[in-house]
């Protein structure tokens, strides 16, 4: 029985700790700061380097079906 209480206590302690950490992330806008200074520049760099299809190489077809009913 004691070990059950002990396990519950540990789980409760971890959850409380996690809750406090999340509140600190929220309060100091750490999510925003991490995204602004870390994630977004990294992703932006990735998107800027990405190879893309040249639109001017795409043929503009005018022989497609005319849908009239």
């Amino acid at each position: 029985m004691k070990s059950v209480w002990k396990t519950l206590g540990i789980v409760f302690g971890i959850l409380t700790g996690l809750y406090i950490v999340l509140f600190l992330v929220f309060w100091f806008d750490l999510d925003g700061k991490a995204l602004f200074y870390g994630v977004e520049p990294f992703l932006k760099n990735h998107y800027d380097k990405m190879k893309r299809k040249d639109p001017l190489d795409v043929e503009y077809r005018t022989d497609t079906e005319n849908y009239e009913y």
Partner: protein, 544 residues
């Protein structure tokens, strides 16, 4: 009793004040919200203390709840593979990665300074928009042939321009789904992260197109030119996006899409009965096109079911307008009202709108019953008219916090002011044609003089004493009536603030310049003092 300090307050009084500020949050005039910003970034040194109850509500029921549901929704809409699918999408598409990660900051900007029931009701609107957005992009990603999506789902997904109303596809909702092409990659991204769209505007100009057409048209073309649209659809239904600049966009999109396309433009003079007839027949032709292309038959029962459900949404919207127009107890702020309404009315019947409306209805009824005023510092009731700056849709939150300008209603909310009859096929078709014709940018903005001048009628109905007149500098249609509005404002002795902007492009008129224009009007014309002077000037030029 302790001795009074320099301000004449005793220790006890100061302690009581500190305790009250901690428990209830500071009174509006003492909040100094502008001091919370980190210069240029729009980030917060720390988030706002709204009192114990509202801060904990924001943390638990908005911040934590929405982060958790953003992941939960991916699983809800796409199963356990949802989060992985999302990450693949983030890696492939700029509009997804740069926009949907900082979404909680979008909440922060729109809900700044809000308390109590107003905070709750407005946040629910945001929650619905996020959920519906996730549903749409998850469907795109599930079907996306560029990132290894399912061919089976691809075959059962129809794409359409964002101003083709989702209701057109109700007859197939039980077997197929429809996802607008630009609603998420363009429209929603501008609100959440205003940097993203600039890449697409520049992409359009990079192939030699002129820079002076509407930047919305440019951006929507640019997404295709950048090859940034998921390949999730075998057929597409387009419109003229109810703005004739967009016709050029459609040509570019057709070039890039290269697949069966049915064009269903919204006519200019929609009051003409012959035009109405033409539009009704065009909807029928569109249905035939879908049947022919997909092999799936039209279902009257599905259409009727969803139209009736959509009518329920409209009826609740009318209840909201009634409270907004005639009482001080409307708990929804200007940005939540505007974005939710245009999104929902264009998107059509979806489960999330009903869920959220049920929650908001309870809050609305509570506010009316207990006479709760969510905007007690209102000095002026504003109506916002014409098309809004997408990169600064939350200007109304700022304007209330800084000046007590309460944006009660806006033009886009009022566009689809109708329910649709379902008593006979012909009546349904006629009403659907009208709804389709009343598209964004057509219903009032470029729908004819007497429609754009419905402003006066709605101003009276909603008991507004000021107008925020949006001035889309690159909209040739609205620029044509600028002088007429000036004359009318003078003749009717109406206080109107012209807000210049370039729809999605913050480089033409920045948020800071917009605030400066409002500040100038409020000081030089209205001779008023700001409620929160820290909000008068700040630099958020690099902010999302």
């Amino acid at each position: 009793m302790t001795k009074p300090n320099k301000t004449g307050k005793t220790l006890l009084t100061r302690t009581k004040k500190l305790a009250s500020d901690f428990w209830n949050g500071k009174p509006h005039e003492e909040r100094r919200l502008g001091d919370l910003y980190i210069d240029k970034t729009g980030l917060y040194k720390h988030r706002e203390w709204r009192g114990v109850k509202d801060t904990m509500y924001y943390f638990n029921n908005i911040w934590l709840y929405n982060y958790a549901h953003m992941i939960g929704d991916m699983v809800k809409y796409s199963g356990p593979k949802g989060p992985m699918l999302f990450l693949k999408g983030v890696w492939r598409y700029r509009w997804l990665g740069q926009t949907y990660l900082p979404v909680m900051h979008w909440f922060d900007r729109g809900l700044e300074g809000m308390r109590g029931e107003g905070l709750r009701a407005s946040a629910w609107h945001y929650r619905a928009m996020v959920s519906e957005t996730i549903r749409q992009f998850m469907r795109m990603l599930e079907a996306d042939q560029k990132t290894g999506g399912s061919k089976e789902i691809y075959d059962k997904t129809i794409a359409h321009d964002e101003t083709v109303w989702g209701g057109i596809f109700y007859p197939w909702r039980d077997r197929m789904d429809d996802v607008p092409l630009q609603m998420i990659p363009y429209f929603v991204t501008c609100h959440v992260n205003n940097h993203v769209v600039l890449n697409y505007i520049d992409a359009a100009q990079s192939i030699g197109l002129p820079g002076d057409p509407c930047p919305m048209c440019q951006a929507e073309a640019g997404i295709f030119l950048q090859d940034d649209v998921p390949e999730y659809y075998p057929i597409v239904i387009t419109s003229n996006e109810a703005c004739d600049g967009s016709v050029g966009t459609s040509v570019l999109q057709d070039w890039m899409m290269n697949r069966p396309l049915f064009a269903m433009p919204q006519p200019m003079q929609f009051d003409d009965p012959l035009v109405q007839e033409h539009c009704a027949r065009e909807i029928e032709e569109c249905w035939k096109f879908i049947e022919e292309q997909t092999g799936e038959p039209f279902s009257w029962n599905e259409l009727k079911k969803h139209l009736e459900q959509q009518n329920q949404l409209q009826e609740f919207e009318w209840e909201k307008w009634e409270v907004a127009a005639n009482t001080d107890y409307y708990p929804i702020n200007g940005v939540a009202q505007a974005l939710y309404r245009i999104y929902q009315s264009q998107d059509g019947d979806r489960e999330i709108w009903h869920e959220v409306d049920a929650r908001v209805k309870k809050i609305l009824e509570k506010c009316v019953e207990k006479k709760i005023n969510s905007f007690p510092k209102t000095r002026h009731r504003m109506i916002a008219w014409s098309c809004a700056p997408l990169y600064y849709s939350h200007w109304c939150t700022w304007a209330y916090n800084c000046w007590g300008l309460n944006c009660i209603i806006n033009m886009d909310s009022l566009m689809f002011n109708m329910t649709i009859r379902t008593d006979s096929y012909e009546n349904t078709l006629q009403d659907m044609a009208l709804y389709h014709e009343w598209a964004p940018m057509r219903r009032m903005a470029v729908g004819g003089m007497h429609h754009i001048f419905e402003l006066w009628e709605y101003m009276e109905k909603f008991h507004c004493d000021m107008v925020m007149m949006y001035d889309q500098l690159q909209c040739k249609g609205m620029q044509g009536v600028h002088g007429l509005f000036e004359d009318e404002f003078r003749a009717r002795n109406i206080h109107a603030i012209w807000m210049p902007h370039a729809l999605p492009d913050k480089r033409t008129v920045s948020r800071s310049e917009i605030r400066g224009i409002i500040n100038d009007y409020m000081t030089t014309i209205m001779h008023e003092e700001p409620l929160d002077p820290t909000l008068l000037e700040f630099d958020d030029s690099e902010g999302w």
